[in-house]
Structure formats: structure tokens, C-alpha cells
């Protein structure tokens, strides 16, 4: 199997602070790969380097064989990204959001129309196609973003905590949708999440990151079996998580976010 994602000795420093510390892993084509870790572990920094939003301090990341620093445009053409924040245009309709992104990726007009129709069906938003995104619920908005991220038929799909903030029903709907879409397409998925049950059910392999380092990487079953003194079928992924990252609260200062500004409209 060819590797869809190769991360080689990647490091990211912000001044004196090392956010990602010599991480190595490979994701095979067609895998669903879970990236877990406590808050501030470096997961989002890692994923941002993989999707060309942040340049690495050192190390190499290859996405579909393209180097993220030297062949950024090739990487961007071959990936779909769902960032942690909701980034769909609230004033535009569902269909318009997909249309603009299809044009950004240079999807030809006839292919564009078909793809948008298929994706709206896949995420079950066909009847809401002409409605402004601001009138949709959180779960529906996430589905818009999933469809938007797939409108150019990428080979690798990155999702940064896609179900955070959604109610259980919406979360289940999003995951069911993702699995269905993945089964219909040749797609590699890398996902970060805090929901252990999702990672347990859906990921082929899971990497656990803590303090910027990779502390564990294996299938969910193997990770559960690695906990000493307990039978694997009595161990949950929560237990695995705590085993590898510890019980301490991760209190830490962080840079103020522009999202904290009172002038940012929260919808």
C-alpha cells in the first residue's frame, strides 16, 4: 500500500516553545487515522502543518507524495480540509458555498454541477440547498463543510475535531455520513477528536500525542491490549488515553484569540 501521508521527524517551535517535537508516522492510503491528545498537545499544530497552513520548523511532511513546503499547491489540490472552526460563509446558501469552493479548485463546470448534486445528496442537504447557512443548525453546517471539503474529489481528507460542539444525534449523523462517503470514494481520512467512542469505532489506527510528542500509535484493539494488568475487553479508549497522557489537568496560558474580541459576531 502506498502512503497517503508521511510525517518524518517533524518539529514546530514558536520561539522557545516546542509545540511538535520530532513526530514520525505514516498513514496508508484508504485508512481512517485518528489523532488523539489532551488540549494543547500539539494536534492542531500538527494538522495545520500537514495542510500547509503552518510551515514546519524542521522535518518533512509528504501528502500523496508532495512535500508540503516545496510543493504546497500540489498538496492543496489533493486534500480536503475541515478546520476546527466553522468556516462556511453564513450569508451564502448551502449550494453557493459548494459552488465557490468548486471554482476555487478549478472544477470544470459540468463536473461541478454533478458533484455538487451528489454531495448534497450524500450529506442529506438537498432540500436545504438554497437556504443560507446561517439558518442551519450546527450539525447541518458541519455537513455543509464536509461536502465543501469534498467538492474537488480530494484523495486525503483532514478533519480537525469535526463533531466538537454537536449534540449526540448530530455527531452520529456526521460520522455515519463520513463512513458512507468514504466507502464510496477512494479516500484517506485523518481526524482529530476528543470523543474516544468515535475514534474507537471508526479509526483503523490511532496516534496519541502529548506535549508535542507521539506517545502511542496502533490499532484501537492493540492499544487497549497494551494497558498492563487488565484484560483488553475491559479496557476503554479513555483508559488508554489516561494511561498514555496522565491524570494531570493541562492548565496553560495561551495566546489571546481574536475570537475573544467582543466585536466578533457569534452565530
Amino acid at each position: 500500500m502506498t502512503a497517503a501521508i508521511e510525517v518524518r521527524d517533524i518539529v514546530k517551535k514558536f520561539g522557545d516553545f516546542t509545540a511538535v517535537d520530532h513526530i514520525n508516522f505514516t498513514v496508508q492510503a484508504g485508512e481512517i487515522f485518528g489523532l488523539l491528545g489532551p488540549n494543547g498537545a500539539g494536534k492542531s499544530t500538527l494538522i495545520r502543518m500537514m495542510v500547509t497552513l503552518l510551515p514546519p520548523t524542521s522535518g518533512t511532511v509528504l501528502i500523496n507524495g508532495f512535500d508540503v513546503t516545496k510543493q504546497s499547491d500540489d498538496v492543496r489540490r489533493s486534500i480536503g480540509v475541515i478546520p476546527q472552526a466553522m468556516t462556511s460563509d453564513l450569508e451564502l446558501s448551502v449550494e453557493e458555498n459548494l459552488l465557490i469552493f468548486a471554482k476555487l479548485y478549478g472544477v470544470p463546470r459540468d463536473t461541478r454541477t454533478r458533484l455538487i448534486r451528489e454531495l448534497l445528496e450524500a450529506v442529506e442537504l438537498t432540500q436545504w440547498a438554497d437556504k443560507p447557512v446561517k439558518n442551519l443548525s450546527g450539525g447541518m453546517r458541519r455537513r455543509v463543510e464536509i461536502a465543501r471539503g469534498l467538492v474537488h474529489e480530494p484523495r486525503v481528507f483532514f478533519l480537525d475535531e469535526p463533531t466538537t460542539g454537536l449534540d449526540p444525534v448530530s455527531r452520529t449523523a456526521v460520522w455515519t455520513m463520513l463512513q458512507r462517503i468514504k466507502s464510496q470514494r477512494d479516500l484517506t481520512v485523518l481526524i482529530t477528536t476528543h470523543y474516544m467512542d468515535e475514534a474507537d469505532k471508526l479509526a483503523d489506527r490511532i496516534a496519541i500525542v502529548d506535549h508535542g510528542k507521539l506517545v502511542a500509535l496502533d490499532t484501537p484493539r492493540a492499544l487497549k491490549a497494551s494497558i498492563p494488568g487488565r484484560a483488553a475487553d475491559t479496557v476503554t479508549l479513555d483508559d488508554v488515553f489516561v494511561h498514555y497522557t496522565g491524570h494531570d489537568l493541562r492548565d496553560a496560558l495561551q495566546a489571546p484569540s481574536a475570537m475573544d474580541s467582543p466585536f466578533v459576531m457569534r452565530r
Binding site: L53, P55, R76, I79, T87, D89, L92, I100, S261
Partner: protein, 370 residues
């Protein structure tokens, strides 16, 4: 370039769903045009002038009659007779009257013996407009007093004939070019700067940065869409403002086309400036805080409300690099003088160069990564 056009399409689709944006960008300039135009454009009338006649001779009475004629005719003055000069002066200091015309006791004797008769105008100079109007009016009054009874058929002294090349331009028309520029600027700041930073703060830009769009395409897309929005605002206020201000032939198609070109160049210059200022900004508070400052620093030195020749050196220095200056000058030439492009060639050149430099610098500073 298709990706830049996709950004333009996205921005214009959003704009279409925000009609209040164009209304808000025009309300303030229109209000300013109407209020300032009529507040400053009128003639000062009904100034209270206290007249203290300590002489009561025939020449003194003539002075009082001339003042009464001004009061009855042009109504510049309202005459109030005082007996006590001390009381008149006290009322002047207390703001009851605007000036005191004092005719001294020896006025008539000096007038009849040609010994430099004098009257005194004591005015409240804390209001320079009022004191200047009073001085001018009383000066004319004294001039009328001095005019010979018999008028010569042929004047032997030099006289001045003032010829106005253009029809009378009320102050509201003088203000219109500045209001058009202001409207463009407001659209650029609200519809461009503030929304751009708000989107950045919401993380919206991340969605675009992970696509293959280049820096130049992203900057060009934002600038072109910002220009289109600003052109719409400028064009609407040109027509509305011209009708309100009473510009002759407001819908002259040739002039409107010329105006459209200058509006487009001005819009591109101002959106490029806005982008350059905001390209590294992430805090949504900053564009809101700087909006008012920029407004003042760009608008008033431009000559939009007062001639630049009257400015101090530092303000004239700002005016030289201020794109508002060239836009206002160009609009004044087209709207008030109905000139062609020959009269505004330098303005067009400056706005074009300014846009090119600002856009190049903004593109260089724009971060393609977070």
C-alpha cells in the same frame, strides 16, 4: 485568475445579501453633505448690534439711519439703541449683543470740519465669522457715509469688476466631491476592512488558505470586489448628492462616465490602502478604532471643506500624499467646472500609482500561512 474571480463572486454574493451595508456607507456622507452644506453655506443674518450715539448730531443720525437701512434690507443687523456705553459693553461681554457701534461725542463736529471723524466697532472676536461679518457690514456702512453726494459721471479712481467664470456655487455643491470620496471610503472600511478582519478572526480565511489560491489571486479578489462595492456607493451618492445639491445637469452622461472612471480609480486606491493597513491585523477592534482617526486624517486635509492654501505646513504635507486630495480635486473639476480629463491628468496619475504601490506592498506583506 479564475480563483480571483471566485473570490470576487463570493464577496459580491455576500454583499447582495447585505443591502444595509450600502445604505450605511451613504447615510453619513449624505447627512454630512446636507447638514454641513446648509450650516456653513448661508449668510449670517440678524446679528445684534448695540448702537451708542453719544453725539446726536446730523452726521451721527445719518450713521444710525444707514445702520437701520441695513437692518431693514439685508437684515444682517438687528439694531438695539443704548444710552449707556458701559451697559452696552457689559451686554457684549455677556453675549446679549454681538457688537457695539459707538459714535463718540465729537463725531459730528469732526465730520463737518473734515477732521477725521471716527466711529468704533467693539466686537466679540471669540466668533471670527460673526466678528468678520460685523466688521465688513459696518465698514460698508461707513463707506456709504463717506460716498460723495454728487456721483461723477465718469469715475476718476480705479474700480474692480469681479467676473465669475462659473455659475454661483453654493457651499453644499463645494462639499459634494468630499462627500463622494467619503462614501467610497466608508464602503471600503466597512465592506472591506472591518468585514475582512472579522472573517479572519472567525477563521474563515483558513478555509481559503488551504485551497490552491495564490497570494496575488486572494489579494486581487478582495481588492476587486471591494472596488466594485465602493464604485456602487460612489456612483449612487454622485447622482443623489448632485440632485440634492442642485448641480446643473446632474445626469449629463459624458460627465457621469468621467465621474465613473474617477470613482473607480479612487475606489481601487482606497481599497488598496485599506488592505495595506489591515493585511497583518487580526484584532477586530483595530479597524473600528482606526476608522474615525483615518477618516479625519484623510478627509479634512484633502481640501474637501476648506481650501488647502489656508492650512499649516504639516497639514499641507499630509495633503500631498493623501489620495483623498486628488480624488476631491478631480471630482471638483468634473462636477463644478465640467472639465475633461485634461484638467485632472495629474490626479488620475497619482491615484493609479498610489494603487499600484499599495497593492504591491499589501501582496508582499500578505501571509500565505497562519
Amino acid at each position: 485568475m479564475h480563483r480571483a474571480l471566485a473570490i470576487v463572486e463570493r464577496e459580491l454574493r455576500r454583499f447582495r445579501r447585505s443591502p444595509m451595508l450600502i445604505v450605511m456607507s451613504m447615510i453619513f456622507p449624505l447627512l454630512q453633505l446636507i447638514v454641513l452644506g446648509y450650516a456653513f453655506g448661508g449668510n449670517v443674518k440678524h446679528l445684534k448690534l448695540a448702537v451708542v450715539d453719544q453725539d446726536h448730531g446730523v452726521p451721527a443720525v445719518r450713521i444710525r439711519e444707514l445702520a437701520g437701512a441695513v437692518s431693514a434690507g439685508a437684515r444682517t443687523l438687528d439694531i438695539i439703541e443704548y444710552v449707556d456705553p458701559g451697559e452696552a459693553l457689559s451686554d457684549l461681554r455677556n453675549g446679549v449683543v454681538n457688537g457695539v457701534l459707538e459714535i463718540p461725542p465729537d463725531f459730528s463736529r469732526r465730520a463737518l470740519t473734515d477732521q477725521q471723524p471716527r466711529v468704533a466697532l467693539i466686537s466679540d472676536n471669540t466668533d471670527t465669522f460673526v466678528s468678520a461679518t460685523l466688521a465688513g457690514t459696518v465698514n460698508s456702512l461707513v463707506g456709504a457715509f463717506n460716498a460723495p453726494v454728487t456721483v461723477q459721471r465718469v469715475e476718476s479712481v480705479a474700480t474692480l469688476d469681479v467676473v465669475e467664470v462659473y455659475p454661483y456655487v453654493p457651499y453644499i455643491q463645494y462639499l459634494l466631491p468630499g462627500s463622494i470620496t467619503m462614501s467610497i471610503f466608508m464602503m471600503v472600511m466597512i465592506g472591506g476592512g472591518i468585514i475582512f478582519i472579522d472573517d479572519k478572526a472567525r477563521g474563515l480565511h483558513e478555509g481559503y488558505l488551504v485551497t490552491p489560491i495564490t497570494k496575488l489571486e486572494l489579494v486581487a479578489g478582495f481588492n476587486i470586489s471591494g472596488t466594485i462595492k465602493a464604485v456602487l456607493a460612489g456612483a449612487v451618492i454622485t447622482v443623489l448628492g448632485s440632485l440634492i445639491a442642485g448641480v446643473p445637469n446632474p445626469l449629463d452622461p459624458i460627465r457621469l462616465l468621467r465621474m465613473l472612471l474617477v470613482i473607480s480609480l479612487t475606489s481601487f486606491a482606497l481599497i488598496s490602502l485599506m488592505f495595506l493597513l489591515m493585511v497583518r491585523v487580526t484584532d477586530p477592534l483595530l479597524p473600528r478604532a482606526t476608522f474615525g482617526v483615518l477618516n479625519t486624517v484623510l478627509y479634512f486635509p484633502s481640501g474637501a471643506v476648506y481650501p488647502q492654501a489656508g492650512f499649516p505646513g504639516w497639514m499641507q504635507a499630509i495633503a500631498v500624499v493623501d489620495p483623498f486630495t486628488y480624488a476631491v480635486h478631480a471630482f471638483k473639476s468634473l462636477l463644478l467646472k465640467n472639465t475633461g480629463f485634461g484638467a485632472i491628468g495629474y490626479d488620475l496619475l497619482f491615484l493609479t500609482l498610489f494603487s499600484a504601490i499599495a497593492m504591491t506592498a499589501a501582496t508582499a506583506l500578505f501571509k500565505r500561512t497562519l
